[in-house]
């Protein structure tokens, strides 16, 4: 189970790096955090898992989208 999720994390990370579309890359980076938090939960660290889920996949994805929106407007 942990191995499967680890492979998923790696796959999402590769998508985040290689995808040409930035919005997909941001979502993939958020999904990396989400799977990582499940992985922490499996490793019996619920405190870390909560932080990762709330900040890593929730708030930082939102902030990335705000910045992306701003950059798009500047570049026309």
């Amino acid at each position: 189970m942990a191995l499967f999720i680890g492979v998923l994390v790696l796959a999402m990370a590769i998508i985040a790096i290689l995808n040409k579309k930035l919005s997909i890359a941001v979502i993939a980076a958020g999904v990396v955090s989400l799977f990582a938090s499940v992985l922490y939960l499996l490793m019996a660290a619920p405190d870390v898992a909560m932080t990762e889920a709330a900040i890593g996949s929730g708030l930082s994805t939102l902030i990335f989208f705000y910045v992306l929106n701003k950059i798009k407007r500047y570049n026309g």
Binding site: D47, M50, T51, A54, I55, G58, L59, Y66, R73
Partner: protein
């Protein structure tokens, strides 16, 4: 060609280093030194059922104060760089409307999310979670509010007051530990109570509540700054 070769070389050397670490790693069968003390005496000395909280708030409370200070510094720097002029401040965010689904779910879910955040930091000494996690959950509720109505005004003064008052109270509670108990951020100046109760573990619920409010206010402040930065266009 040379560039790809160099990238490959760096990756191979990093892989080599980590492979060596992985190969020589042997999991310890028993806790060493100070960790053994925390695990054996933590519950008795601090009175917190969650051993992680006992370490984060009391044994290593000074580090937690450093982390809160770093978050405060981050929020201030973001506020400094994203400050808008008076002219831009009056503008509105142009958006293509939000879905009915998001608006309705925000109305129902936001109070529940806030309540859950408060639950997480109030019960930090009993169940997994604590000030940072609770604060982040509250801030994600604020994020949902902002997404449902991109032009929503968040009360800036309320956030600043909550943050300042909880920060000062956190330090005052730490100082009370010096005068009434063993040292800075010692939780034993209030009674330890019954192990496992909501009002137990001395000052930990108080300290964690203030940390939770402070972290929630700081992250909400950061979100508010990013929201306002969308105005000019």
């Amino acid at each position: 060609m040379v560039r790809n070769f160099l990238i490959g070389l760096v990756l191979a050397s990093i892989g080599f280093i980590f492979f060596n670490l992985y190969n020589t790693y042997e999991p310890k069968t028993e806790l060493n030194g100070i960790a053994a003390h925390y695990a054996a005496k933590g519950a008795e000395e601090i009175g917190a059922a969650n051993i992680v909280t006992a370490i984060v708030v009391t044994y290593r409370g000074f580090d937690t104060m450093g982390e809160v200070t770093i978050l405060f510094l981050t929020a201030s720097i973001i506020g400094f760089f994203l400050k808008l002029s008076k002219k831009d401040e009056a503008k509105k965010i142009i958006h293509h409307g939000t879905s009915e689904l998001l608006i309705t779910s925000a109305q129902i879910l936001v109070p529940i999310i806030f309540l859950f955040g408060v639950y997480v930091f109030m019960n930090g000494h009993l169940t997994p979670g604590g000030g940072f996690q609770g604060g982040a959950i509250i801030a994600s509720g604020v994020a949902l509010l902002i997404m449902a109505n991109p032009n929503r005004q968040i009360n800036h003064h309320a956030i600043l007051w909550i943050e300042s008052i909880s920060g000062v109270s956190f330090v005052i509670l730490g100082l009370l530990g010096i005068f009434l108990a063993g040292g800075f951020l010692d939780n034993r100046f209030l009674s330890l109570g019954t192990f496992g109760d909501l009002f137990s573990a001395g000052a930990i619920p108080l300290i964690y509540s203030f940390i939770g409010l402070k972290v929630g206010a700081e992250i909400s402040n950061i979100l508010n700054k990013y929201q306002k930065s969308q105005k000019e266009s």
